[in-house]
């Protein structure tokens, strides 16, 4: 089974490609890390998969279907810093957002939704904080709230953007345990991660990225000196010059 397939996916900002022809198939039931240096396009790749940024070429399939048809089976955990935590809401309010669905715009939140949200909070050890105002949370707690919101969705594929950044040891431990539980239930988890040191312990599968895909495969195959050097040894010179040129000349990555 394939969880995510990208086919020749190119994403550009101001016409300069930040991801070139990304082409991979990810398995299901694994914890998959997307690894690469700063500015290698990891977050952009997730956003392209989730349809949050326009693509210049290629396509994405999730469980062999278009995202639109499998939305309820996919859950996304954005970067913690992407929102303003001073928003007037409690922890429970945020987790309940995971229960909103596109087909029940006018439907109220039910008791069952609350139970599911509470269960999700319990899984990340945050149940006692459910009435806490979100601005009073530590970074690690904020991250756990975001993960709980995603769990409340009850999806099969979880896509997380840098969940381990700026969290305390307890949170890291809690998230890791959770990832393993999810894997044991047959769920697939795709995690953007920037720390090479821990990547080998955290993940079963690795996608090495640096504006282009360097390699993708089981971690035993990926963690070798040659591939890592290729990914972390800087950008391809000609490739980035062509990118610059495309921005300068307002040139598209496809002829039409």
């Amino acid at each position: 089974m394939i969880s995510i397939e990208t086919h020749n996916l190119t994403v550009s900002y101001n016409r300069r490609p930040v991801l070139w022809n990304i082409d991979f198939e990810l398995p299901t039931g694994k914890i998959i890390g997307i690894i690469g240096p700063n500015g290698s396009g990891k977050t952009t790749l997730l956003k392209a998969i989730m349809g949050l940024v326009p693509t210049s070429s290629g396509y994405v399939k999730i469980f062999n279907q278009d995202l639109e048809d499998v939305r309820s089976r996919v859950s996304y955990v954005p970067q913690r810093e992407s929102v303003d935590w001073d928003f007037p809401a409690s922890v429970m309010d945020i987790v309940l957002m995971g229960r909103y669905k596109k087909n029940n715009l006018f439907k109220r939140i039910t008791k069952a939704d609350r139970d599911i949200a509470a269960e999700a909070l319990e899984k990340v050890n945050m149940l006692e904080f459910s009435n806490r105002q979100i601005s009073q949370l530590s970074g690690g707690q904020q991250q756990r709230v975001f993960i709980a919101r995603s769990l409340a969705q009850g999806a099969d594929l979880y896509i997380m953007d840098e969940p381990f950044v700026g969290v305390d040891a307890a949170t890291e431990e809690a998230i890791l345990n959770l990832l393993h539980d999810m894997k044991n239930q047959g769920k697939t988890v795709v995690v953007v991660h920037h720390d090479l040191q821990t990547a080998k312990d955290f993940f079963d599968w690795i996608v090495l990225l640096n504006t282009r895909m360097v390699a993708a495969g089981p971690k035993e195959e990926i963690f070798n000196k040659k591939l890592l050097q290729e990914a972390y040894g800087g950008k391809l010179n000609v490739l980035s010059q062509v990118g610059d040129l495309m921005k300068e000349k307002a040139f598209n990555v496809r002829e039409k």
């Binding site: 956003k47 989730m50 349809g51 949050l52 639109e68 939305r71 309820s72 996919v74 996304y76 954005p78 992407s82 929102v83 303003d84 928003f87 007037p88 809401a89 409690s90 309010d93 945020i94 957002m97 995971g98 909103y100 669905k101 596109k102 715009l105 006018f106 939140i109 105002q133 601005s135 919101r149 969705q153």
Partner: protein, 430 residues
């Protein structure tokens, strides 16, 4: 007093219309303003308000009447157009949203003034009063106005109730809303529509220039009182409505006073009041915390004096004169006396003639502070690898804030030390 009674009895139906009208306007603007505020689009409301003027003028030129419905339709169209343009400029050019807002606001307002001037010189008799849109005409709201405003306020409240949880989500985390498949564009369209509507009716009361205040100040004031979105919207609505009421009242009892500006004045006072007096987050509450800290630091420092003197001559419970105390530590006379009196109140010190003695409970308290000071010095020395001559100043401050839980953690982590880095004894209270 007589005029107050007249006002409150609504014996003059016009007063009733004005009061109802301004309250409805204030409340509607406050409700949608909460979302503008939370989405950090405070200035967009200002741009819409200014962009509405050409719409009002065009509606008058086309229809030839000042029927509020026609004017609101005109206002609605140019208000919306301004939003689309701001969005378009930010998306397709290098310009950022603040610049786009500035450009659209001034261009549309310029066109509006141009049209207004040409209407005024056209000789059309029915145009009189159109310029009221600049500064509002709350005092002359009519029955028809109130009907239109009431309908719009009802639509607006209905939309917010229907889409409450979705509006909450797109204000907090629009990307997530998109990912779970909510129709974010439609929801943003609805939110923008009710904002334009609220502004379009609001400027009839306070005018183009003051409209932004009606939108944003209630939300910003309400934010200080609560951490719940629903409650925040209710408080903001209350602020908006009560300001409408007070503004009408003031201009009724003092006829020289304009209604619109007074509504804005009342709103501003409520917001400034919130900034000052709100519990926990208000300036006053924060000031009080600072004062409590200063007081705690002072009394603990004075207590420490007695301990240090006792440590030196072996007599913890000896009587000390103010002169001796002053010589031991760099304290001003006034501060010291204040500290001594505060400590007496706590029964930690007793006064004997013009000398002072520490009590048993005072001595325990002094030991606690000294212990925290020396534990912290140890901690800095061992964990942060600071030299013994670098740890004192830090400990002077930290000793006052360490909680009993942290104290236990420190003791445990340092394995109950008996000496600090300067070889002074760390006192433990049995």
């Amino acid at each position: 007093m007589n005029s107050t009674f007249q006002f409150l009895s609504f014996s003059d139906p016009n007063v009733l219309f004005v009061v109802l009208g301004t309250m409805l306007l204030g409340a509607s603007a406050a409700i949608v303003g909460c979302f503008s505020f939370l989405r950090k689009r405070a200035l967009v409301g200002d741009a819409i308000a200014h962009s509405i003027l050409p719409g009002v003028c065009l509606a008058f030129m086309v229809s030839g009447s000042k029927n509020p419905l026609y004017l609101i339709i005109g206002a609605f169209i140019t208000g919306w157009l301004s939003l689309l343009l701001i969005d378009g400029i930010t998306r397709t050019t290098k310009l950022k949203s603040d610049t786009a807002i500035g450009i659209i606001l001034s261009v549309f307002f310029g066109v509006g003034i141009l049209l207004l001037t040409s209407i005024q010189h056209s000789g059309n008799a029915s145009q009189a009063g159109l310029d009221k849109f600049l500064f509002g005409k709350a005092a002359s709201l009519t029955k028809d106005d109130v009907y239109v405003f009431g309908t719009i306020a009802a639509i607006l409240i209905l939309v917010v109730i229907l889409f409450y949880k979705e509006f909450k989500l797109i204000s907090f985390n629009p990307d997530y809303a998109k990912v779970i498949g909510l129709p974010v564009r439609f929801l943003e369209f609805m939110l923008a529509t009710i904002t334009v509507l609220a502004v379009a009716v609001g400027i009839q009361a306070v005018g183009v220039v003051l409209m932004a205040a009606l939108l944003i100040t209630p939300a910003s004031g309400a934010r200080f009182w609560t951490d719940k979105l629903g409650v925040m919207i209710l408080i903001a609505t209350f602020f908006g409505a009560i300001s409408g009421f007070l503004g009408s009242y003031i201009s009724y009892v003092a006829p020289a006073m304009p209604t619109g500006p007074w509504i804005v004045m009342c709103l501003s006072l409520l917001t400034v009041g919130s900034i000052w007096f709100a519990p926990k987050t208000g300036m006053l509450a924060r000031f009080r915390v600072q004062q409590d800290n200063q007081r705690k630091i002072l009394i603990e420092n004075v207590l420490k004096l007695f301990y240090h003197l006792g440590e030196k001559d072996g007599g913890f419970k000896k009587q000390r004169s103010i002169k001796v105390l002053l010589a031991t530590r760099d304290l001003r006379m006034k501060e010291l006396k204040r500290g001594l009196l505060l400590l007496k109140k706590e029964n930690w010190l007793r006064k004997k003639g013009d000398h002072w003695v520490i009590t048993e409970s005072g001595l325990n308290e002094a030991k606690r502070v000294i212990k925290l000071h020396r534990l912290w010095e140890m901690y800095l020395n061992q964990r942060l690898k600071l030299e013994p001559d670098h740890v004192h100043n830090d400990a002077e401050a930290i000793e006052h804030i360490i909680t009993p839980e942290l104290e236990r953690q420190l003791e445990k982590e340092l394995n109950y030390p008996t000496k600090d880095p300067h070889q002074s004894t760390i006192p433990y209270v049995e």
